[in-house]
Amino acid sequence: MLSSIVGAQVGSEPTAVIRVLLGTAALWIATVSRPAFHELTYPEVLNVPTFAFSPTPTAALVQLTVAVWICAAAVLITGIFARAAALTVAGAGTLMAATDLQMISNHLTLMIALCLLITLGRPGAALSARPSQHTAFVAYWPVFLLKVQLSTLYLFTSVSKINAAWLSGLAFRNSVPHLVLLPDRMVGPVTVMLAVTSVVIELSLAFALWLPRVRAAAAMVGFVFHVGIIVAMPPPALAPFGLMALALYPLFFQEPRTAGAPPIGDVGGDGARVGGQAQGQRSASSAPAGTG
């Protein structure tokens, strides 16, 4: 199975779409994180260093980190030097997370993880401002890792919610302002039902997106689920998380092609190749699609 994953190829566009949406989410996260990051420089605000060697937050550190982050995210969207841009975004996010434990959030963690994972592939191979780098196909194994990332996210977020506190519906009563529209006697049952349903949906999505028979239905449920969270649970800071998760969905609809094609993904630079044979096969496979 591992050999078939490593030896397969998929179309380059879905990964490029992820790159564009990830860059957009990164811009959003930088913007919403900056105020809290900056507040750490106030003497009355508590600092909780993530590590013993964490840097002290200063105004210069905050401004420089956010400025580099935003510039790199913009470059990532264009697809120029996509790997370097993704690594820079990941680095800026990691620096913020390493500065203070309070800055670590799940959407920051997902952003860093996806930035690192897309550097394993060729994120600039389509929809970029450098058409000379475009190819029709890219290696499947980085795409496989992106899919596993989404599934493990759904799996662990659902399993962690199987506890009395979550299943009581308390989180929905605290977070969903629209519930005030319900009669008092309905709030309890409705929030419990929402809590149980969310666990079932997330647990199902962890596996269903891999199954061709139910994939389309699962994607529809996932789309409604993420959009529902964004609409029902302000603030809009939750939106980048949904954007990044949904950006990964098209990957599940790609059929990897394994017909004798050796791996064309590489761990080197954007233009690097793994061996002459791979280079030749990539050229051949790219030609019919007219994107070479």
């Binding site: 591992l2 050999s3 994953i5 490593v6 105020p35 809290a36 990051f37 507040e39 750490l40 106030y42 003497p43 009355e44 605000v45 508590l46 600092n47 909780v48 434990l101 309070q102 800055m103 670590i104 959030s105 799940n106 963690t109 994972l117 394993l120 194994w141 496989f144 890792l145 596993v148 990332q149 493990t152 996210l153 662990f156 977020t157 399993v159 962690s160 919610k161 506890n163 506190a165 979550w166 308390l170 989180a171 605290n174 977070s175 791996p263 993904g265 761990v267």
Partner: protein, 105 residues
């Protein structure tokens, strides 16, 4: 072979890191994908002077971004005592389990 090793290591990290976070006692834990899993009442900070009178302070005066993953009871009382010369007692209410309590400066 090198790519196979990368795939195996990355999948092990993708599964192993949140699995270890799930097994920790101080939940929710960072890097565990435990969004909203353990809802708790909001954290309140009450700062009392030597006469037992509360100072006019808000929790947001001391916390820029509140995160349930952070053990505030280990850090916040000492910080408040340091930045508030009038503080005599710091009272924490709410937050994740184990956070509530009184601390003398």
């Amino acid at each position: 072979v090198r790519i196979k090793v990368i795939v195996v290591v990355v999948v092990a990290l993708q599964v192993g890191i949140p699995a270890m976070a799930l097994l920790r006692e101080d939940r929710p834990s960072p890097l565990g994908w435990q969004m909203y899993a353990w809802p708790s009442p909001p954290l309140e900070v009450l700062v009392l002077d030597a006469d037992g009178d509360p100072l006019d302070r808000e929790t947001s005066d001391y916390i820029g971004r509140y995160r349930l993953e952070v053990p505030y009871h280990q850090h916040l009382p000492a910080h408040v005592c340091e930045v508030e010369p009038e503080a005599h007692t710091v009272v924490l209410r709410g937050g994740r389990p184990g956070t509530s309590g009184q601390h003398r400066c």
